[in-house]
Symmetry: C2
Subunit: 428 residues, 2 copies
């Protein structure tokens, strides 16, 4: 009775370097632009916003970047995370496909976000920064930054999309328990927030607005920097630890994935699991199909336009060359708040434009159905975001069944849904 | 920078047998009594309530009992669980004590309860039972039974203490997501529930009342059995997998605990971690001090009387020889709903009476303070129940500091508190 099979690496096998896909991309992405001058952004122009070392990573084309020891030590709290062969899900689907998932939900905050939060807090801390700001949608990122700041003795202000702040109170309690301060966005703490509230006092917020508020505080408060949980190159870089571990674990399982699947918000968990596999294709070795699972309510890769756009709503960030639905796009209030971001980021967008990434869009009903099936077979209640990856995987597994062919599918379980139970309840 | 250190066993080292402490007890516990005749209860009298194999275990004095393969396979979903050296907590306390904890919060339902839920569902399933009933306080046990029943295709009805049903809605959503039916207790689904509601329509419920309701349904509905998440010998037996794993992991760490600490509700997580270590003392080998951490609101071991008492409020269960506050005791509405049970069970009570178990009582403020310190140092937000074990461990660590002596402390982190964030919020 093979109900489940975990592939568990030893702690000593936690990777010692992150993988930077920029080194292997056939076409480099266009540069970020300074929003005022429209000239390519220079690293030093970002240093008021981000820690210097993170800016260096943002512009780096080195293939491998060392993980600092203190960060790698903290990774040991929850890493290596398990790779699981989802026998029970396969059986429920009666599919010849072999389904594997990387379980990032085992981190103490319940998602993959901690992988970059620890790195970002560390680099800010060694630079002598004392305050950080950030935004959060569903709250996963805010929770991760809060515990990371607790480890490195940094103060943290989190602007949380008002919709989530009210709909997901447990998340803000988690942020508070770890010591971070959390405010509903739009708030009256920034001039941008006050402007929004003046024109629309009932505004429920978006991730773009929350970013604008966090950025405003970071650039106006002394010894303060901003941190972002997705989209940017250095964030994607830190998340490659997911795929690098998964690669070793797939080897333990004696398999290589035909398809690698992840949900897509700003690209961090997607790139994290996918890029290490994609590198073998870019280097002319093994082929792999990458599938970004988007919500129908916010399908930037599937339906967006590739152009320069802002990372936030107010237009305070650099201009990013990316697939975007427009920086003022306000998606429907779906439960997967972490996927309600308007743009696809520089690296993912270039790779998609070059034909290395596929995407699909999935409506909310299908994702919750998939999430419940997963919970009842594999045991873990997935985050609403992660249910998109599961739903896309189920689609592929059923296609394989129809075609009668075996296929190896790997998806990333980016987080658990224990704090999203109200969403499940409203689905049920 | 040693911030954390996990000791991780291979899957192949998941124990193949549970440990039954009855075989090693110097004084056997007095028998359970039939509540009508007051004669020692015969196994066959319990078979209408529990699966036969569980009844056999309840009366067994075999030292080792085989874990069935299908149960051990399902254990692999989350076992072996990590043993962690809590360096960050030690540092925060500036203590010479070495603190270890067994992390049972990594199970998909977030607590140790799954260890026995899987076993109980399995034995009922092989007997051909189709319906199970149970009660739940905080909801941890109900969640565990719900996923276990989903694996073995059993229907489940859960009576949830009304206080928790309303205060912790996420837990009931979890139970529902896995497929179980959940009702607030007292309910109008049983004659006992209706009787309570008639005399007190605003009754908030107790674990004892919920047990009475679940038992009533089990004995009146065809092909139905009852399951209990703590107190009984077979439940404690299944939980010894915690301590048996921890023993191997302490060996990996090159240490043996001077003190083993766990929170105490009905005794399942306490016995689970403690009994395997106690066996070496009973066999004249290594000494160990066991500490049961109770809430001041419900200190059955610390302040109860050792006598025969019912396991439920209505007086439907067999009479159990145990430390008890009385089966009609209604403890304060503390957040640690899982510790609001009136009695200590047969085995623990005998061992306590024989001097093998110490207990202490801790008030709610101290436990939440301990829980927050643990979250900010070790990363995991603990369940309100588990914060009692942490608070007791911190007391011991500070005593060691005062005495200037090194000591090895091991406690059980029975569950995480992600679904109890409202409790933390009201503390903060």
């Amino acid at each position: 009775m093979d109900v489940t099979k975990k592939f568990q690496l030893a702690e000593s096998e936690i990777p010692r370097q992150w993988y930077n896909i920029v080194a292997d991309m056939p076409n480099k992405a266009k540069p970020l632009l300074n929003p005022q001058t429209r000239e390519p952004l220079k690293p030093e122009e970002m240093e008021g916003l981000f820690a210097k070392e993170l800016v260096k990573q943002e512009f780096s084309d080195e293939r491998w970047i060392d993980i600092p020891d203190p960060v790698r030590e903290l990774y040991k709290m929850y890493r290596p995370t398990p790779l699981v062969r989802a026998y029970a899900l396969e059986k429920a689907l009666d599919t010849p496909a072999k389904i594997f998932y990387k379980n990032e939900s085992v981190s103490p905050v319940g998602s993959h976000k901690l992988n970059t939060a620890l790195a970002q807090a560390y680099y800010n801390s060694v630079q002598g920064i004392t305050h950080l700001t950030t935004e959060t949608g569903a709250g996963q990122w805010g929770s991760a930054m809060s515990i990371a700041c607790s480890y490195f003795n940094l103060n943290l202000e989190v602007f949380m999309v008002k919709q989530s702040y009210e709909q997901k109170p447990y998340r803000k309690f988690v942020i508070g328990s770890y010591g971070g301060k959390v405010y509903p966005s739009p708030s009256d703490r920034t001039s941008y927030g006050r402007k929004i509230l003046k024109s629309d006092p009932n505004c429920r917020g978006t991730l773009g607005m929350a970013i604008s508020e966090a950025v405003e505080v970071a650039v106006t408060k002394p010894n303060t920097r901003y941190t972002l949980g997705s989209v940017l190159n250095h964030v994607l870089l830190h998340q490659t630890i997911i795929g690098l571990e998964a690669e070793k674990q797939m080897e333990m399982a004696g398999e290589y994935p035909n398809k690698v699947i992840a949900c897509f918000g700003g690209g961090s968990n997607f790139s994290g699991i996918a890029f290490p596999f994609l590198r073998h294709e870019l280097n002319g070795q093994k082929k792999v199909k990458l599938i970004a699972a988007e919500p129908s309510a916010c399908p930037k890769l599937t339906k967006g336009k590739l152009e320069y756009d802002f990372g936030d709503s107010a237009g305070m960030t650099p201009l990013i060359p990316m697939y975007t639905l427009g920086h003022d796009f306000q998606p429907e209030q779906i439960h997967a708040a972490g996927l309600r971001y308007h743009g696809g980021g520089q690296l993912v967008s270039q790779l998609k434009s070059d034909g290395y990434i596929d995407s699909c869009e999935i409506d909310q009903q299908e994702t919750f159905k998939a999430g419940l099936l997963f919970a009842r077979t594999e045991g873990v209640i997935p985050a609403p975001e992660s249910t998109h990856a599961i739903a896309a995987t189920i689609r592929e597994a059923l296609k394989a069944k129809e075609a009668g062919k075996s296929e190896v599918l790997l998806f990333n379980l980016s987080g658990h849904g224990m704090l999203d139970m109200a969403s499940y309840e409203s689905y049920i």
